[in-house]
């Protein structure tokens, strides 16, 4: 049932994006030919990309190709869409996962500290910080970080994924992962130095959400009898929070993190643009500007697959972790 609705959602996305982008004004074929090309040239190339057929017919041809793993050919790059998109995917995945980890660490620390010092000034300060972090979206945090840690106090890189002059021994596009595996710490430092600001920009709002929710459920758990009991046994407050309260308080936060992770991935589009980071989102914006219809379709579908995939995974994990939802 869950798989069926996922399939319907993906099909819906495909239909909408396909028809929307075909209404885009501007002829991509005319844009790729040099000035002085004849009408016949334009017609020939239009036919080559199948753009002379009716829109429903184009959709069926495209859908048939997709089911065989063929997403068409990019008009600007003149390469298969699938290869282009998969080439950029690792950059976006590494950025998203790094941002997610940062959000969990920052949010978790805020929640634990707030619980440990509850009722005091520290907790009030954490609440105000959380409120601000939550109110302002990743795009603005990115700009603030560029100004603060890129320009006024330049400690990190503010554009690109890696310093272009470096010699890269990589065979995959998972730069961060591969530099770790190959123990090339010189490259690792450079890559992290490029990634840290965009990842932090993406992480700040999510960290605030995690911090708020986890603190809330920790507080509720701290009032339960078994926690009071372990306190009377003489365990330290830190031990009580980490060992007794946390395991029971973490489930609602975990579910929320899953859903919010898709929002974070959606945020990479503009954050990659802001930091000139060569990922999927940056490629998507270029594709829209260049009217590269097959490439736009491919990227949007891939994003939709990632979103629905993450949601499916969250549901399954939740069912596995929550005994009340386990079937028979």
């Amino acid at each position: 049932m869950r798989l069926l609705t996922t399939a319907i959602t993906l099909f819906g996305v495909a239909v909408i994006v396909f028809f929307v982008i075909r209404v885009v004004p501007g002829n991509p074929i005319a844009m790729m030919l040099p000035p002085g090309a004849t009408e016949a040239d334009v017609a020939r190339l239009t036919a080559l990309y199948g753009l002379d057929k009716s829109i429903p017919a184009q959709f069926l041809i495209w859908l048939g190709g997709v089911l065989q793993g063929d997403f068409g050919t990019s008009i600007t790059a003149r390469q298969p869409v699938l290869a282009l998109v998969l080439g950029r995917l690792p950059a976006t995945l590494e950025l998203s996962v790094m941002a997610l980890l940062m959000a969990i660490v920052l949010g978790g620390m805020a929640a634990l500290l707030g619980t440990l010092r509850r009722g005091g000034r520290t907790e009030a300060a954490i609440d105000i910080g959380n409120g601000m972090a939550l109110s302002v979206p990743d795009f603005l945090w990115g700009l603030v970080l560029i100004l603060g840690l890129g320009v006024f106090w330049p400690v990190f890189h503010i554009s690109g994924r890696i310093t272009p002059s470096l010699d890269l021994p990589f065979v995959t596009n998972f730069y961060l992962f591969e530099s770790l595996v190959r123990l090339r710490f010189d490259l690792l430092v450079d890559i992290v130095g490029h990634m840290i600001l965009p990842a932090l920009a993406l992480a700040i709002p999510l960290a605030a959400i995690i911090g708020q929710l986890l603190k809330q459920s920790l507080k509720e758990t701290m009032h339960l009898d078994y926690v009071t009991l372990s306190r009377t046994k003489g365990y330290s407050e830190t031990h009580v929070i980490l060992r007794e309260a946390l395991p029971n308080a973490i489930l609602p936060t975990l579910t929320l993190v899953g859903v919010q992770f898709t929002f974070l991935i959606g945020g990479t589009v503009i954050i990659e643009r802001l930091f000139s980071y060569e990922g999927l989102g940056n490629m998507a914006i270029d594709a829209v500007i260049n009217r590269d219809l097959p490439l736009i379709q491919g990227i949007v579908i891939l994003f939709a697959v990632i979103f629905t995939g993450v949601n499916l995974l969250v549901d399954l994990t939740y069912a596995a972790l929550n005994p009340r939802l386990r079937h028979g």
């Binding site: 959602t9 996305v13 982008i21 795009f139 320009v151 829209v288």
Partner: protein, 286 residues
């Protein structure tokens, strides 16, 4: 227990302050936007290539009369920010209200009518949630062409789900309550119950969401200006100024800092206003 009660009291007191501060800042922005032609010291479009990238007035080498400096084309940063407030607020108001109307209506229909109406609207929401919103908005602007109305349409088309999701859940909860059942027993029509009984009860939620949506609309306008798809590169928008400031960040930081700070405070104010209102409306906290 005492701990929890104290926490709530603190939230309420803080809520009052932040509500007040946010409302004040937004009032300033509204007044400045309305009076823009009279309060702006210069024409926001006037270029003067001899005055390019002048620093703010308190720094060395500043040009008197250009309080926050000039951009690379010699246009006054302060005047452009003041005129930019008009565009930002217009987008916030129109996009916010239309999105709220559309999203809340669909959510109300789905949550109260249930059945196939709910099925169709819920499936649409699912599909919408699978789109990366920024990419979706850029795509829509490419279709609609740049311009103020295109931005508003794009925001409405993308963000209606924010209202529809929440209002649907709320309407479902209200529909199961006793007062709706008794209205039904009293022989009132479904449409009448929905509009007279359920709608007033979901209205506070809609108002809170609307306040948040206005902040989001300002950001979306800025993002679209940033990728050069908003209005036109000449028109003074906060996003367009930020985009220019990002490009010349190492030569003229003031072109980025002032519009960014204004945008930051405005978005923060809308959001805090929404959160403050939420606390006010929440019967548990009252």
């Amino acid at each position: 227990m005492a701990d929890v009660m104290d926490g709530r009291g603190a939230v309420r007191r803080k809520g009052g302050l932040r509500l007040w501060l946010s409302a004040c800042w937004l009032a300033v922005v509204v007044v400045v936007a309305l009076l823009a032609p009279w309060v702006a010291p210069h024409d926001p479009l006037a270029q003067d290539l001899f005055l390019g990238r002048m620093p703010p007035v308190w720094m060395q080498g500043a040009e008197p009369g250009y309080y926050l400096g000039t951009d690379s084309l010699g246009r006054d940063v302060l005047s452009r920010m003041i005129h930019g407030a008009r565009i930002a607020l217009a987008v916030a108001l129109f996009a916010g209200v239309i999105t709220a109307l559309l999203g809340a209506s669909l959510g109300l229909l789905a949550g109260f009518m249930r059945g196939w109406v709910d099925l169709v609207i819920s499936r649409l929401i699912d599909i919408w949630m699978a789109f990366p919103p920024v990419l979706f908005s850029i795509l829509l602007i490419a279709v609609l062409g740049p311009g103020l109305s295109s931005i508003i349409i794009a925001i409405v088309v993308i963000d209606w789900t924010r209202f529809a999701r929440v209002v649907r859940a709320e309407a479902m909860a209200q529909g199961a309550m006793d007062y709706v059942q008794s209205a039904r027993v009293a022989g009132r029509g479904r449409l009448g119950i929905m509009l007279v009984e359920v709608l007033p009860n979901v209205l506070p939620t809609v108002i809170v969401l609307l306040t948040l949506e206005m902040g989001i609309a300002v950001i979306v306008e800025a993002i679209l200006s940033f990728v050069n798809l908003s209005i036109s590169t000449d028109d003074p928008t906060w996003g367009g100024m930020i985009s220019e400031g990002r490009a010349s960040i190492h030569q003229a930081w003031w072109v980025l800092v002032f519009p960014l700070a204004t945008l930051f405070l405005t978005v923060l104010a809308f959001s805090q206003l929404g959160e403050g209102l939420k606390d006010r409306f929440d019967p548990v906290l009252r």
